[in-house]
Amino acid sequence: MTYGYTGKILHVNLTKGELEIEEPDEQFYRTYMGGSAMGMHYVLKETPAGVDPFSPDNVLALCTGILTGTPISGQSRLTSVAKSPLTDCIGDAQGGGYFPAEMKFSGFDAVIIKGRSPKPVYLWMHHGEAELRDAGHLWGLKTGDAEDKLKEELDDKRIEVLQIGPAGENLVRFSALISMSNRANGRTGMGAVMGSKNLKAVVVRGKMKPVIANPEKFKEMQKLAKVNMEPTGMDGFGKYGTPGVCSPQHRAGGLPTYNFNSGNFDKHEEIDGHKLYNEHLRGHEKDDQNRFGRDTCFSCTVKCKRVSEVVEGPFKTDAKYGGPEYETLATFGSYCGISDMDAIIHANALCNMYGMDTISCGATIAWAMECWEEGKLTLEDTGGIELNYGNAEAMVKITEMIAHREGFGEILAEGSKKASEIIGRGTEEYLITSKGQEAPAHMPQVKRSLSVIYAANPFGADHESSEHDPGYKAYPERMKEIGLTNPQEKLALNKEMMRFAMITQHLSSAVDSISVCAFVFGASFQLYTPEQLVQAINAVMGWNVDMEEILEVGERRLNMLRAFNSREGVGRESDTLPKKMFKRPLKGGRSDGYFINEEEWEAALEDYYRLCDWDVDTGHPSLKKMESLGLGWVVADNNELSKVIN
């Protein structure tokens, strides 16, 4: 009897058209728990060093976790890992919805994909079986249309589809994997990897529900969701969703504006969650947004997803493509100096129908806008489009052009860093990338621990890889659960803040491996505390894990990601921040004049390396650390790695 997991991993070789099922033992699941750590086990074992991200040899792992599919909030998450075409480092992206749970019900915990199919195919996994099917008729379709066709063809409305859109087919380097036509494994270009394999979609259906070891204890955990809802404020979070933080971010001076040159957006109320809820969510005319304008993931009581529509005008948008999150409102909104909500909702929908990451897409356009404002781009470059800040029509048009790699979109489809290398003319001065990935909408100038996390995170700038500075002081009881009892003053970038960054990074890393939602399980505002995550795991699995073991799973996964980069020859030199964060003080609002002192930041980075037991000169994990995490095999199996890790 296995609890939680199905015990089956599907291996797919697209070149040969072969499928194999592996049945790992329980120790395997306890070591990795699923998600990113489980995927990295296969990526490190099966991907050759130095692989081209678009090569058939780049292994793409799609993994659920031990809790996925059990009826508790925040568990329906799937993690994708592969070498990233955006960063040329390891790539990693999480997504939710109903697909992850349904994949578990289909009888598989994970799919490990390698090779390249000679023609477009989709993978059909159902009731413990799997097969590859022709997808020639789906190639080129928007996500919503492809999903409709698959439901018709398989004669089942309850299938779930994880797919690439035309952008993934066109190898746009920040293409996403999309499910339900509105949920994304957005970051690091996992959609382009799938596109390079001629794999249009993974389609799942099943009834094989995971077995729970301790149903009584599990019931208690389910009930806790109700108990925790009001005191954590998650009821309000569910109502207004992540967009509810737009105005608070502005007030704190941390709403990235004009391509990260300011944390102050005068028109913040125009892109805030209240405006979205009151005027744009489906059902707002009848004041019935709760019923028509909010959506959720399998068995999640938080219900934070937006369903928005634009019923008329140039930005008319179908509600099936969901609604913008905070990140999207910022990247297409304040980053670009745009306050036209209809345009942002439309750009969000374009990203979901073509399959692109809204963060990298919006931020790449914002970078191009700054280049335009600074006179580095001309009408000749853009094909006649004026790219001034605030130009909503241009933003929407460019989004569409990127998806099709049409005109100037061909260059921007490479992501802003590679685009700056193509264009030159000093345009790299305006980048907001770390490892080539565009920064999300939380400002390291304002939340200083993020300055080190954005730089050192193995898959580039990321806001979900650690807790943010204010959480340390605001949630002392929860922080204590993970050994953090010494909160620091605002803007501190000292050793204790590096401890905070690293330990909460280990917890976030565990969350991405267990593959649960970062809004439901965590050490600050989330619905469940870290200890309650431990209890949920033990209730489902019948194990006796403790917090230390969970944090170690997170540390293991972080070092696997890091070791992948080390094998690619990527180390400390890539752990950098965009130049402008050091050189250009922010303008206006609460954070006026804020910048990051480079000397102080270098010292903090070295403190962080020492805490992680990574070499201060090279940034590579030490052999001792790798061995202590049971990862000696990673070094032993890789010649390139054993040369740099010792």
């Binding site: 105005s247 969650g273 505002f525 609460r590």
Partner: protein, 70 residues
């Protein structure tokens, strides 16, 4: 700010003027507003004030929940 706007009486774009008794603390203000969840409070732009901080006439108080994602 954010979802907490729903707790404000007669709110205009998330802003309202409250009448509190003398020597009211931040905790008293949150009680009056029936805000029970974990919040961060800034008084006149200073986020370092605890729940027992005594408010003065004319203070601008910002109340918000933290969300570190999106």
């Amino acid at each position: 700010m954010g979802p907490l706007v729903d707790f404000l009486p007669n709110s205009d774009r998330g802003k309202a003027v409250l009448n509190l008794t003398n020597n009211s603390t931040i905790a008293d203000m949150l009680d009056k507003l029936k805000i029970k969840q974990k919040v961060v409070v800034a008084v006149n732009g200073d986020e370092e004030k605890g729940l027992d901080h005594v408010l003065s006439d004319g203070d601008e108080v910002l109340v918000f929940t933290l969300v570190s994602g999106g």
